[in-house]
């Protein structure tokens, strides 16, 4: 087991998750969300779920983030919380 890597990634995942929902700028949320997805994907790759990790890398960190940015582009970056 690569537990140090594991632990670092885990910390990042939680950090990104909390940051993504508490940043006061939606574009920032978008990027943090992408980072969260990517960290998650790393975690899964470590756990041996390569197919899922691959999908998450292309979907979560890729397309979803783009959708997110597109939506923010068409709405607003402003958020109260």
């Amino acid at each position: 087991m690569h537990w140090p890597i594991d632990l670092i990634v885990l910390t990042f995942v939680i950090f990104c998750a909390i940051a993504a929902i508490s940043v006061k700028d939606l574009l920032g949320t978008a990027i943090l969300f992408g980072a969260y997805s990517f960290m998650m994907c790393l975690l899964w790759a470590i756990m041996g779920a390569v197919d899922v990790a691959f999908t998450e890398a292309s979907v979560g960190a890729g397309v979803s983030t783009v959708f997110f940015v597109a939506a923010v582009f068409r709405t607003s970056r402003r958020t109260k919380d």
Partner: protein, 274 residues
């Protein structure tokens, strides 16, 4: 609301923690989940389907029925975005650039649409990207990304990947095109109609292959029955069936990703956007 949310969250958390108490240790090879069904898949897949990537085999064959509906979900998402956002009316407010002089015209509230050609160029109101480096790099990259996507689809039987991942990557390459140039470039290259047909056809390939198995004498989705239709070693017929299905998935996913992106970013007008 916050307080209520907090309580609900705590209750859920408590319930989940309670359930966690009797979990088998993490990674225990003897846990029920890792012994009951999974062993069958691991041991029999290659023998029965000739596909070394067990995940692909389970996905497209043993549990192919799930995947068929998963593809339908994706199709449905694309359709929903189209239904929700697509707006066939032309925007009243437009910007044009006079090519020779570089003067920008701002047309407000006019039914008349200037003819776009040598003289005038329709430009986006909100976002006008014109970075030569990005354009050039993307121009070079996109074909490679697309080839990679095809590889992911085709090689899904042997390595991680498959129709879904390949489709998403292909879709991303289209989105990249839109981002690096502009939306019009993408929409001109691949018409909305083509995307719509691709999405439906992709799912149709899947369902069609599954359905053909029935008149061939097997159950729904039983690729083994396709042997008379396909060339090559009859032992590989299941692998071929899966490949066909994956292509369908890839096609559908690619189209749907593009549809969702285009519709969101242009608010359904398909003219201007990121």
């Amino acid at each position: 609301m916050k307080f209520l949310g907090f309580i609900v969250v705590c209750l859920t958390g408590a319930l989940l923690l309670y359930g966690t108490g009797q979990f088998p240790a993490w990674g225990d090879p003897g846990s029920p989940a890792s012994t009951h069904l999974s062993n069958y898949y691991i041991e029999k897949t290659v023998e029965q389907t000739q596909v070394p990537n067990i995940v692909t085999a389970v996905l497209a064959d043993y549990r192919g029925f799930d995947t068929m509906f998963e593809t339908s979900v994706i199709f449905c998402a694309g359709l929903t975005c189209f239904l929700l956002l697509r707006d066939f009316t032309e925007k009243k407010e437009r910007f044009y650039r006079h090519r020779p002089t570089g003067v920008i015209l701002h047309v407000k509230d006019s039914e008349k649409v200037l003819k776009v050609g040598k003289e005038f160029e329709h430009i986006d109101k909100d976002f006008v990207p014109s970075d030569l480096i990005i354009k050039t790099v993307c121009r070079i990259l996109i074909p490679f990304i697309q080839i990679y996507a095809l590889y992911v689809v085709a090689h899904g039987d042997f390595s991680p990947g498959g129709g879904f991942q390949g489709g998403v990557i292909f879709g991303s390459s289209l989105i990249l095109l839109a981002i690096s140039y502009d939306l019009k470039t993408l929409v001109e290259r691949i018409k909305e109609k083509v995307l719509g047909i691709f999405a439906a056809v992709g799912v149709l390939i899947y369902v069609g292959i599954a359905t053909i198995c029935m008149p061939m004498g097997g159950n729904f989705l039983n690729y083994g029955m396709l042997a008379p239709l396909l060339p090559g070693d009859p032992r590989h017929v299941r692998a071929l069936g899966m490949l066909g299905v994956e292509i369908g998935v890839g096609l559908a996913v690619m189209a749907v990703m593009a549809i969702i992106y285009i519709n969101i970013v242009s608010e359904g007008r398909h003219d201007e956007g990121l």
